[in-house]
């Protein structure tokens, strides 16, 4: 996974006056990716060699962790756009995932659509919802020092959406069956097909988003607004519209995630909430605005949870995730793949 797509990097590289710095940064980002991946591999090898757990168990944990990390990556990619470009601490991200899951659920159970076909519908639906949220509410709060207002509005939205879903659908868990059941076998470990599909979806989404950001006019506008909203406005970018489109793109990601995870997650009005804070952890870990960072961060956190779970049963592994988070916040707030602001 290429990781030089950190938006600040790309934005800087489009500036002709300083052709050297981005290359240096890009090289250091690649180097860092290599270092992180090497560390992960070394850690896993150590677990194999001296971990004192059966190899079968470790392989299963790694496969599960990578697949879980794909799901985390799906949710985090949207958040990294929203947090990275708009600076909005979107506490509704997980709840929007729940909403997407319910939209897909309704399409499957009432309209009788295939869950993956309905995913193609949840994406534009969630894009629209995100666009409206940003253009009607959050755009009023885009000045400097408005972090708290934005956070409170998204918190309010999270509470509102979750409780409207509770009112509408009740609290009983729901589930849909996937069209492709069964398991793949990888090095003796079991990989359920729906999770593999979700993982592939995450990779596709990462590639797609990167292409949008790099190759399209919209992507150029988003990168320019991320670099300097004022500067973008001066050269004729409709900043508020770009904000709304960016937020929409961010929620479209959970739209995709909602359909992809529905076959293997139990659906309740609070199903997505657990992802909000994990997504923040991953976004900070991966670096704000870095799509590749979100995917790699998701994989790292997924592995920490499952491989860590071999040693710290129950919720102990999640505790480890938060420790990682706080350490990153303190010592490298720009994330592993972000460049210093």
């Amino acid at each position: 996974m290429s990781t030089e797509d950190t938006m600040t990097d790309t934005a800087v590289s489009s500036r002709k006056s300083s052709p050297r710095r981005p290359a240096v940064r890009r090289r250091s980002a690649v180097l860092l990716t290599a270092v992180v991946l090497a560390l992960v591999v070394v850690a896993l090898v150590l677990v194999y060699a001296v971990g004192g757990r059966s190899h079968q168990l470790v392989t299963q944990a790694i496969v599960t962790g990578i697949l879980l990390g794909g799901v985390y990556g799906l949710v985090s990619m949207g958040l990294t756009l929203i947090f990275g470009v708009l600076g909005i601490v979107n506490f509704a991200q997980g709840t929007l995932l729940t909403l997407a899951m319910y939209v897909a659920y309704v399409l499957v159970s009432s309209a009788g659509l295939d869950v993956y076909v309905s995913t193609l519908i949840t994406i534009p639906v969630l894009f629209g919802i995100g666009y409206v949220i940003q253009s009607t509410m959050l755009n009023r709060l885009m000045g400097a020092g408005e972090t708290e207002g934005q956070l409170l509005v998204t918190l309010g939205l999270a509470l509102l959406i979750a409780n409207l879903l509770l009112l509408g659908f009740g609290g009983e868990p729901k589930s849909v069956s996937a069209p492709f059941e069964g398991n793949l076998h990888v090095f003796g470990a079991v990989a359920p097909v729906p999770r593999v599909i979700a993982f592939l979806g995450a990779v596709l989404l990462a590639l797609g988003l990167t292409a949008v950001l790099r190759r399209t006019r919209l992507g150029l506008s988003i990168r320019s607004v991320a670099a300097s909203a004022q500067g973008a406005q001066l050269v004729g970018v409709n900043v508020h519209r770009v904000y709304a489109l960016t937020f929409g793109l961010g929620t479209a990601c959970v739209g995709a995630a909602g359909g992809l995870v529905l076959p293997f997650l139990t659906l309740t009005p609070t199903a997505g909430e657990q992802f909000t804070i994990l997504a923040f952890v991953i976004v900070v870990l991966g670096g704000l605005g870095s799509i590749g960072g979100a995917l790699v961060g998701g994989l790292v956190i997924g592995l920490v949870q499952t491989v860590g779970g071999l040693y710290f049963p129950g919720t102990g592994a999640t505790l480890l995730v938060f420790v990682v988070f706080v350490v990153v916040l303190f010592f490298r707030p720009q994330g592993l793949f972000g460049s210093p602001q």
Binding site: V89, E148, V153, L155, F322, V323, V326, L329, P333
Partner: protein
């Protein structure tokens, strides 16, 4: 009091504007103390919960409203208060009166520790909020994994038949719980009023309004910010300790869950951040809301009949209120009214 204008320039017409706050506090406490004689018994638990919200919100407001350090993790302090009381009482038979105070001290120490780290590493705005959130989540996970704290089973406070002042337990129908939490709220508001009038409070607000300017005047930024955090954490912990005593049960989720942090923030935001009475007024709005919506749903008008028997309307309502207030009345109910009156 909370405007950034220098005190000299505003030249208050009253010699001691804070005197008004003391009058309101005394009169308010006396009036509210009479409430149990008027309220039907079934409503008293709503009133107690409202007062708990108010204490939490007053506590949150000191760190985040006056201090400008937006906390999304006050559940940490609430939970420390709740667990300190439960642990000391259940495992060591310590009186809740002492347990609650111990909880307040522990919460203050914990608050200072995490705030020191967060400020030392210059976390600001969103990052500061996320760090406080993460610390609260860590405590949630820690308590769920520590056997001495009964893991996820939590603590049941053993019942004392007939009640006992030293164990802070009273028979059903007693108004003592109400008066105790009212007393805690009175203390919290009194501390808040004192703070606003004190050098400490003035410095904390000066730092919030312009850290660089405050530092250049020689104010030791970190020390005063940590003091505000300590006071804020201690007050919120009092609410947590009382919570354990009132509901006689506490679990990691009830003590450290994210919704607890939300419950500390929302009343303050709705009433008015950075004001003395905002959090109290916000709690008075939010507290009874679940009761009101529950009664609507019990006998719904025909438009809402499809909602009968469903839950979630109360939180949905206050979520809407929260969004509308942030968008259209960013100073909150009390803050806006006060600004209007002063203009």
């Amino acid at each position: 009091m909370t405007t950034s204008a220098p005190p000299a320039a505003t030249a208050p017409p009253r010699a001691r504007p804070w005197l008004g706050n003391w009058t309101v506090l005394v009169v308010g406490v006396v009036l509210v103390a009479l409430l149990p004689y008027v309220l039907p018994a079934s409503r008293e638990s709503v009133a107690v919960r409202t007062l708990i919200f108010a204490v939490m919100a007053v506590g949150w407001n000191i760190m985040s409203g006056y201090g400008g350090m937006f906390s999304f993790g006050h559940a940490a302090f609430f939970g420390i208060g709740a667990y300190a009381d439960a642990y000391l009482l259940v495992k060591h038979g310590v009186s809740p009166w002492i347990g609650i105070l111990v909880g307040a001290v522990l919460a203050a120490v914990f608050g200072v520790a995490i705030a020191y780290l967060s400020l030392r590493y210059r976390l600001k705005g969103a990052y500061f909020a996320l760090a406080t959130f993460a610390f609260a989540q860590m405590l949630l996970l820690l308590t769920s994994n520590i056997e001495a704290l009964n893991k996820t089973r939590g603590f049941n406070v053993p019942l004392v038949p007939g009640g006992s002042w030293s164990k802070m337990q009273f028979p059903i129908g007693s108004h003592n719980y109400f008066w105790i939490v009212l007393g805690i709220l009175a203390v919290a508001v009194a501390v808040n009023i004192l703070l606003v009038g004190s050098r400490l409070g003035q410095y904390v607000m000066a730092i919030r309004d312009d850290e660089t300017a405050a530092a250049s005047l020689g104010i030791p930024i970190m020390r005063y910010q940590l003091a505000a955090v300590a006071i804020s954490a201690a007050i919120t912990a009092l609410a947590g300790g009382f919570y354990t005593q009132y509901f006689l049960f506490v679990s990691p989720d009830l003590a450290f869950g994210a919704q607890v942090s939300v419950e500390a923030i929302v009343p303050a935001v709705i009433g008015g951040i950075g004001t003395i009475w905002g959090p109290v007024i916000g709690a008075a709005v939010i507290g009874p809301l679940s009761e009101v919506t529950a009664s609507i749903l019990r006998d719904p008008p025909s438009v809402l009949s499809f909602l009968s028997g469903r839950s979630g309307l109360d939180v949905a309502t206050y979520a809407v209120l929260l969004i509308l207030i942030v968008l259209f009345l960013p100073r909150g109910i009390y803050g806006s009214i006060r600004a209007r009156l002063r203009a």
